[in-house]
Every structure is written in structure tokens, then in C-alpha cells.
Amino acid sequence: MSRLIKKLLPHIVLMAYLLVILFPFLFVIFSSVKKDNNSIALNPFGIPKTFEFGNYVEAWVNAKISTYFFNSMYISILSAVVSILIASMFAFAITRMRHHKISAILGAVILVGMLIPNNALMLPIYLLVKKLGILNTHKALIIPYIANALPFSVIILSAFMKSLPSEIEEAAVMDGLNAQGIFARIIIPLTVPAMVTVFIVNFLGNWNEFLLANYFLSDDAKRTLPVGMVQFRDQYQMNYAQMSAGIVYSVVPVIVLYAILQEKIIEGVTAGSVKG
């Protein structure tokens, strides 16, 4: 008997913790199919008697979720891909090319970037973006997002490239391949696994970014999903059922991605923070 309790007790405690994590999501899903605030108040915890899917239609239209969704998607993917491209060029140069002294210095300089609290740099970046004349365009997010992801991407990619055996290039040079060829045809294909990790981390960071997106864009049609959601909340604060539908829209893509790639995501996100 006591053995059984000893075995079950950890599970009971952990299940309680899971409930705390997951119940808010359930609460939002249930609320999103309720008719209005009143029916949420009358039956806060349970599944509603009648399902009201109209909230989803209205949230999609009223909150312009489709616009924000598309903006977020293309800004996040584009920035993540360009960061990886630039970072892998840099990582290749400092790990595989024969300029070791300069490379060591450059690597250390980029590492310092990981230690800088980037929120504190928001004002100078705001000014810079304004000077470049790209304030209130998507470039005002894309370029800083590319830059912000560089230190992390360089660190992970160069650690990976460093671990590749040098015999590879020796063989390639024998076969008459030049440095560009080694980079494009040999090192890049071999680095793909690390790139996937880096892509996921960069993509999630961009997808969730709020501060720059909130202050650097003022046109409603250009907003990204997190900012659009906050604005939607401020406008339709009285209608919680519809707002819940909006939350579901913005959370579902991340959950789907997580369901498919959870191992990669956990590995990538935690690696990033430890290295930082």
C-alpha cells in the first residue's frame, strides 16, 4: 500500500502542475465557443451547452488576423533565413579558412553580442531605423531581426563547422575545388542539421517579438500578430469570447510546430540560452 502511494505521489504532484499549465489554455478554448461574457460568467469552467463558432469567423474578420498572420509569417521566415545565410558565411570564414589570428578576434567580438541586453538598445536602434528612412516599413523589423539573431547563429554554426574533420577540405582541394566550392557544395550541406535548429530558434524569436514590432510600425495593415492581438484586445476588451478565439488563432501555429518538432525545439532553445 505505502509503496503504491510512494509511486503515485510524484505523479499526483506533477499532474497538478500540468493542470496549472494547461488549464488556462482550456479555459480560453472553452470561452472561445461561448456566446458572450454572460455565458462565460455563468459557466466559467465547463464546456458550453451550445457551441458558438461565430466567434472564430468574427475574430478573423474584426481582428484582421489573416493580415497579421501573413505579415508575421513572412517577416519571421525571411529574417531567419537571411540570418542563417550571413551567419554561415561568417562561420565558414572564421572556422575553415586560414586566417586564424583575425578569426579568433572576430569570433570573440561576435560573442560579446550575446551578452548585450538588447532591449536597452531599443532607442538608438529606433533612431538608426528612422535615419535609414525605413521606419514604419517591414524593413524596420526585418533588418534588426536579422542582426539580432547573428551572434547566436554564428556561435552555434561555427561550433558545428569546427567539429567537421579537416580531411574533407583536403580531399576537395585535391579534386580541384576552390574555397567557394568547398563552402557551397561541401560545408553547407553538412551543416544542415545545425541550421534547422538555428532556424527554429530564430523563427520563434521573430514570431514572438513584441517591442520593436510595437514601436517601429504604425500602420495597422503592417502589424505583426503579437502587436495586432494586443490592439485587438484593447479594442474589443468587452467581448472576451471573441478575444479568446483570437488567442486560439495566434497560439495554434506554434502548438502545431511544437507538436511536430518538439525535440528539435527544446534542444535548440535551451542550447541558445546556455551558450548565451
Binding site: L14, L18, I86, I94, M97, M122, L211, V254
Partner: protein
């Protein structure tokens, strides 16, 4: 051999894009922040006026700045004092169960990959006084509705709870990975010698995961110093500035009130405070727990 991989032109072409962006978005902003922190400037007019250390003396004597700094302090205290023990407790639990390990790990990690803005909205709904989840639960026990985010007494703790809800699982997964990488023989040997589960946790596992706990604390400090979006989304620093942190205080001054020079002085102060805290932590605590080998 060496010739192909020496090609200096190619080297420059490869490193230049990264260096340019790094210079523009990391180095330049630091120097720019330092430079403007000594000026009085609205961010628009042609010439910033040099005023020496006035911005800093103003910030350091302003009550609202210290209120904001204190709230950053609450973030640190809450994560180190309350979250870290919970993180250790739950990761030990998950490491020692045989079944459902994967489920627990996956579920607790989930909130940390979500947008802080959306989580702020979600919790704003939970804290809603009339129909929110929390007051609905309290009502079951006959407790009057509380105004979580609108009452100065509860607003800060409400934000801290939301922040903990989002990030605890993330750190649990990190610590769990460290626990699972400890060779099993150590634990088994101790068990054969008759050590109880509790004893093994305290005298074997805990000392061995000290380095990762140290990393968690460092990350918590860094995270606490840059906290901003959760506050903006949930309370906008209110009620009456009681939940402002340094970063939101900075944004309020610089972007909303056009005090660009003063805002940059706050940015520099955030830097300095972060440096001091990390240096202190490294000197006082982390030094003692050097590398561990099995």
C-alpha cells in the same frame, strides 16, 4: 592546399555582411546610447545639447526610477527565491518517475515558446475581475472578486506569477537535462549503501547540478533586467506607475515623451546595473562552484 582557403578577397566578402550588421545594430547603438545620455534632446531637433551628468543625477534622484528599479529587483527575487526551488523540486520529480516523463517535459516547456504578448493577453483574461478564471475560482470559496491588475497591491505579484508561469518549465527542462546526464552508477551506488531518495537528492544530485543552477540564476537575472513586454501588455506600467520596470520607464520617457537623452541615460543605467549584478554574482557565488567532473 593552403592557397585555396587563404583567398583574402573571399574571406572579406564572407565576413563583411555579418560585421556590417553587427556594427550597425550592436556597436553603434551602444556608443550612440552613451553619447546621447549626456545630452538633452527630444530626438527630432538638429542639435542635442550637452548637459554632462544631469540626466544621471536626475534619474538617480527620481523616485519613479527607483520604483521601476525596485520592480526589476522583485523580478529577480521572485525568480531566484521562489522559482529556482520549484524548478529544482519539479525537475527532481520528473527525473525520478519512470512513466510519462516525456509528457511532463513536453507540457511544462510549452508556455516558454509562446509569445509573451499573447500570454499577457491570456492572463489578463484570467485576472479579469468579473468573469476571469481566478475570481471564478475564488467565488467557489466565497471570496469577493479581487481587482488583480487594477489594484496596486496585487498588480506586481500578478505579473510576476504570469512570468513564472511562462518560464518555470523552460528552466525545468534545462535542469532536467543536467540531472539525466549524471551517470546512473553514482545514484545506484548510493542506493546500495542505503541512502534514501531524499539523501541522494541532497548529497548527490544537487551538488552535481550546481553549475546549471548557476546558469539558471544568471539567465533569470538577465531576463529580469530586460523584462518589458509582459508589463506593457498587462498593465502598461500602471496602476499609477506601480508596475513600471526600468525598460518600460525608459520607453515612456524616450518615445512617448520625447526625452531622448534622458531615455538613453536610463539605457546606460540598465547596462551598468546588469553588469554589476552579473559581476557580483560571478564573484560571490559562481566562483566557488567550479567545474565538476564525474
Amino acid at each position: 592546399m593552403n592557397k585555396a582557403l587563404k583567398n583574402p578577397m573571399l574571406y572579406i566578402v564572407l565576413i563583411l555582411p555579418c560585421l556590417i550588421l553587427f556594427g550597425m545594430f550592436f556597436l553603434y547603438p551602444i556608443f550612440s546610447a552613451i553619447r546621447y545620455s549626456f545630452t538633452s534632446w527630444n530626438g527630432v531637433s538638429a542639435t542635442p545639447k550637452f548637459i554632462g551628468l544631469d540626466n544621471f543625477t536626475k534619474a538617480l534622484t527620481e523616485e519613479r526610477f527607483w520604483l521601476a528599479a525596485r520592480n526589476n529587483g522583485f523580478f529577480i527575487l521572485f525568480s531566484v527565491g521562489i522559482q529556482v526551488p520549484l524548478i529544482i523540486f519539479f525537475s527532481l520529480l520528473i527525473a525520478n518517475v519512470k512513466k510519462l516523463k516525456g509528457l511532463y517535459k513536453t507540457a511544462v516547456f510549452l508556455p516558454s515558446i509562446m509569445s509573451t504578448a499573447v500570454i499577457g493577453i491570456l492572463w489578463g483574461f484570467i485576472y479579469e475581475p468579473n468573469i476571469g478564471l481566478l475570481n471564478s475560482i475564488l467565488k467557489v470559496f466565497g471570496i469577493e472578486p479581487l481587482y488583480w491588475l487594477a489594484d496596486e497591491k496585487y498588480a506586481m505579484i500578478s505579473i510576476l506569477l504570469t512570468n513564472a508561469w511562462q518560464w518555470t518549465g523552460f528552466y525545468i527542462v534545462m535542469v532536467l537535462a543536467a540531472i539525466l546526464s549524471i551517470p546512473r552508477e553514482l545514484d545506484e551506488a548510493a542506493a546500495i549503501d542505503g541512502a534514501s531518495g531524499m539523501q541522494r537528492a541532497f548529497s548527490i544530485t544537487l551538488p552535481l547540478i550546481k553549475p546549471i543552477i548557476s546558469v539558471v540564476i544568471m539567465l533569470s537575472i538577465a531576463g529580469a533586467m530586460k523584462a518589458a513586454d509582459i508589463v506593457i501588455v498587462m498593465t502598461k506600467g500602471g496602476p499609477a506607475g506601480s508596475t513600471d520596470v526600468m525598460a518600460t520607464y525608459m520607453i515612456k520617457y524616450a518615445i512617448t515623451n520625447f526625452k531622448y537623452g534622458y531615455g538613453n541615460a536610463i539605457a546606460v543605467l540598465i547596462f551598468i546595473f546588469t553588469l554589476i549584478l552579473t559581476a557580483l554574482y560571478q564573484l560571490l557565488v559562481a566562483r566557488r562552484s567550479e567545474r565538476i567532473e564525474y
